[in-house]
């Protein structure tokens, strides 16, 4: 079965072509891309702006520094190694725990230092990176996710993606790792996308492999109607992200740490469109609503308030969102 063009239009679905031509090209100046494409830069900027980020233990930017990797990891129990300019969750290696010289991935498989070095060398050679020949490898704090996710996440860290348009959060989704996604939170790799009510932070329906689901496929726990803690802070962080990234159409990825609360993970200048499926709702009307406002407030708080005013929704009896525009 396929949808008709008029049906997609009526649902306000934003297509890839229009996203690129009408939002990314005009609203995201090319010169600001390096800030979001290089996660070390993003992290520094976010930190300067007073936002919480996963701590950076070290950066490896050349092959001869690989020798120092062992020392760097010496005192760490868990860590994440990822390419500074990676895309689509590629090239991320997670070590969850260690015993003596061996590390363990979230799925329990063993990592020795040579495997880690090989992976890091691959990152340096640019294998996972956006059109870059060379890259840096970041070694950072492995987030301990909030207990609320314990039952609906499988071997990985769930993250929250918020689409922010001109500084106004417009749509959000929770991404849950699965066995299929091997702990990664990217939808095309098999993670679950859960629509999140942008006003309240309550989970709506979910999609997995492009199909609607109601329970986590690995843990069988229900996904709907979970209220994410600290939602207002998440929205504030997302709205603020636009200010430091200088990109008006931005995807902000935030993780919830059980001890440290919401932390900025990364920004995305070309956020994907699957968020619409997770929310069963098109992006176009919301983006146009923001577009139609002549003067948007400068204060971050006021823009978050605007989100709640514009996209106020009521939960009906079934728990699914009834949007009022």
């Amino acid at each position: 079965m396929i949808a008709t063009i008029s049906k997609l239009k009526k649902s306000g679905i934003l297509g890839m072509n229009r996203r690129n031509a009408d939002f990314i090209l005009p609203y995201n100046p090319r010169k600001n891309y390096p800030l979001v494409d290089d996660k070390v830069l993003t992290k520094n900027l976010a930190q300067k702006a007073g936002m919480a980020v996963p701590e950076l233990f070290g950066v490896i930017d050349s092959n001869h520094k690989l020798k120092g990797l062992e020392k760097l990891l010496g005192k760490l129990d868990g860590f994440v190694i990822k390419p500074s300019r990676g895309s689509g969750g590629n090239g991320i290696l997670v070590a969850e725990s260690r015993r003596n010289d061996l590390f363990f991935k979230p799925d329990g498989s063993v990592l020795d230092i040579n495997q880690i070095k090989y992976h890091t060398a691959n990152i340096l050679s640019g294998l996972y990176s956006l059109g870059a020949i060379m890259d840096k490898a970041m070694i950072e704090y492995k987030v301990k996710f909030d207990p609320i996710f314990r039952d609906i996440s499988f071997q990985g860290v769930p993250d929250i993606r918020v689409i922010v348009f001109k500084g106004v959060p417009v749509m959000s989704m929770l991404r849950l790792p699965t066995k299929l996604s091997a702990g990664r939170a990217n939808l095309h790799q098999g993670a679950i996308g859960v629509g999140v009510d942008i006003c309240t932070g309550t989970t709506l329906g979910a999609i997995w492999k492009n199909k609607p689901i109601s329970h986590h496929p690995d843990t069988a726990a229900p996904i709907k109607s979970i209220r994410l803690p600290g939602w207002d802070k998440i929205l504030l962080n997302a709205a603020k992200a636009q200010e430091i990234a200088g990109l008006d159409y931005l995807g902000v990825d935030i993780v919830l740490d059980q001890d440290l609360g919401p932390m900025i993970l990364e920004f995305n200048a070309r956020p994907g469109l699957a968020i619409q499926l997770a929310n069963s709702c098109g992006l176009s009307p919301r983006l146009e609503q923001v577009q139609n406002i002549k003067e948007l407030p400068h204060e971050t708080e006021k823009r978050v308030a605007l989100t709640k005013k514009l996209f106020a929704c009521h939960l009906n009896q079934n728990g699914s969102a009834l949007l009022t525009f």
């Binding site: 679905i13 031509a21 790799q189």
Partner: protein, 507 residues
């Protein structure tokens, strides 16, 4: 889609109309063929000169066409046997001289010419305007008759053309007046008749001359030499039928020589005769244009691919189709939404399919990529750095290609040899990308993108293999601008991709 697109649309319209104007000019004015096998009719005219020669040397001179009005000479040849041949030309005519030192008996010489009918072809513009002739020394009676004739014609005419027509009408009247009858007595042959007409017209100081030619007819032999009267009106030569006063040459009248001189003259031989036959032959139009640019050749033809050396031409025949391949990729990805490895990889694969043929190409592609992936997975275990690994994959691809060529040759399968035609760097990159996608997003994505690339490559192959498209883009390279315009338009296409209708079907 209309928003902010005015600039793009204006540029697109400008480009398209510019290309369109050139295209229509080339089709309608220059007559370039729209299909590769369009034929054009050529007249093949043969002059056969026969004579009897007593023993000894012989010399024959024959007029041959120089710049016949309404025709373009596409080729000519002489069959001269043991005769020496030289060609001379003066302002109006060209002559073939055949000479031989010793010959006897009846002889035959041939001249053959291929002519193309051209519509706008007229007398060359650089011809000098002739001086008005002196009034001839008419005898007393003759003068009175001539002046009366001319005065009468002048009274009922507005310009040179009507003047000559009036004169010729009365000249050819079945019951001519007394003045005409005075002259008509002297006219027994057609040539003499025109001579007299010219003689009278000279009294009005109107420049005139005789042209001799043949009226071509398909499959006709023994065509008659017909003399025709031409009068200059101060701007150009006008032709008149000396027998009917009708103005203008018949459509297929081929001017052979200008002037009263006989077409053939000979020394030392007798019984000289010239015979014409004509027929229509078909020729490939494009080859003709390439070999014989029009006399008043256009800039567009002089600066075209048709002028390049043949092997460069063949290269451009293919290169000019690549924009279409690129357009196909744009369409596949942005309108349909087919995933492919690398943006233009399918185009390059399609180019190699053109060398290997489709089925063999697909099989070779699948074999090379599958083997490459298998070997790549072994490399993966060795944990090589990216660039050395890419280099290794490239080397493996070349070895696979070489092995396929050698083994298939031994097995007597000649098509395996064409494995060498594949772009190995592209294949190596494809294998590398595919194995990364395989690892990152699973085999479904990898195989899906691989098949997507192959599908686009197959369609691109269809384009590259199409003779009509090859012909059109080669002869009308301005069509590339149209492709560019479509690409620009698609660059502002913000509608849904067909794949999104499936992706968002659950909405």
């Amino acid at each position: 889609m209309i928003r902010n697109n005015r600039g793009t649309i204006i540029i697109v319209l400008l480009i398209t109309s510019f290309a369109g104007v050139i295209f229509f000019y080339k089709v309608h004015k220059l007559g370039l063929p729209l299909t590769p096998d369009q034929q054009v009719d050529l007249w093949n005219v043969e002059a056969r000169i026969t004579f009897d020669s007593p023993p000894g040397p012989a010399q024959v001179r024959s007029a041959i066409p120089l710049r016949p009005m309404g025709f373009q000479i596409m080729g000519e040849d002489f069959i001269s046997g043991s005769y020496g041949l030289s060609i001379q030309s003066d302002e109006h005519n060209r002559y073939a001289h055949w000479t031989v030192r010793r010959v006897r008996g009846s002889q035959a010489l041939y001249y053959r010419v291929q002519l193309r009918r051209v519509t706008e072809g007229s007398m060359p513009g650089n011809e000098n305007i002739p001086l008005p002739p002196m009034v001839p020394d008419y005898g007393e009676m003759e003068k009175a008759a001539a002046m009366a004739i001319l005065e009468e014609a002048r009274r009922s005419s507005a310009d040179v053309a009507t003047f000559v027509r009036q004169f010729l009408e009365r000249f050819n009247d079945s019951n001519p007046s007394e003045n005409y009858r005075f002259f008509l007595r002297q006219a027994s042959t057609p040539m003499e008749k025109i001579h007299i007409q010219m003689h009278i017209l000279a009294g009005a100081r109107v420049p005139s001359r005789v042209i001799q030619g043949v009226l071509l007819a398909d499959g006709k032999r023994f065509l008659e030499i017909t003399p025709w009267l031409q009068v200059h009106n101060g701007k150009k030569w006008l032709s008149f039928n000396p027998d009917t006063s009708e103005q203008g040459l018949p459509e297929n009248f081929l001017i052979w020589s200008i002037g009263e001189e006989p077409m053939v003259s000979a020394q030392g031989v007798g019984n000289v005769n010239i015979n014409f036959s004509s027929s229509i032959i078909s020729e490939n139009m494009l080859r003709l244009i390439a070999d014989f640019p029009l006399q008043n050749s256009s800039f567009l033809l002089n600066y075209s691919f048709l002028d390049l050396p043949l092997h460069t031409q063949n290269l451009y025949k293919l290169l000019l189709l690549i924009p279409l391949g690129a357009l196909l990729v744009v369409f596949s990805r942005n309108v349909i939404g087919i995933p492919t490895f690398g943006t233009f990889m399918p185009v390059l694969i399609a180019l190699s399919f053109k060398e290997t043929n489709l089925l063999v190409g697909i099989i070779l592609f699948l074999v090379i990529v599958t083997m490459g992936l298998a070997l790549r997975s072994v490399l993966d275990k060795m944990r090589l750095l990216l660039i050395p690994r890419l280099a290794s994959v490239l080397i493996l691809v070349i070895m696979i290609m070489a092995a396929i060529s050698i083994i298939s040759h031994k097995l007597g399968i000649p098509s395996g040899l064409s494995a060498a035609m594949f772009p190995m760097v592209i294949l190596a990159m494809t294998i590398e990308r595919m194995s990364v996608v395989w690892e990152e997003s699973g085999p479904a994505d990898a195989i899906g993108q691989g098949l997507g690339s192959l599908a686009v490559a197959i369609v691109a192959f269809g384009i590259f293999k199409n003779n009509l498209l090859e012909h059109l883009f080669f002869v009308f390279p301005e069509l590339v601008l149209v492709v560019l315009a479509i690409c620009l338009l698609l660059g502002r296409y913000t509608g849904y991709r067909a794949s999104e209708l499936i992706r968002f079907r659950t909405i």
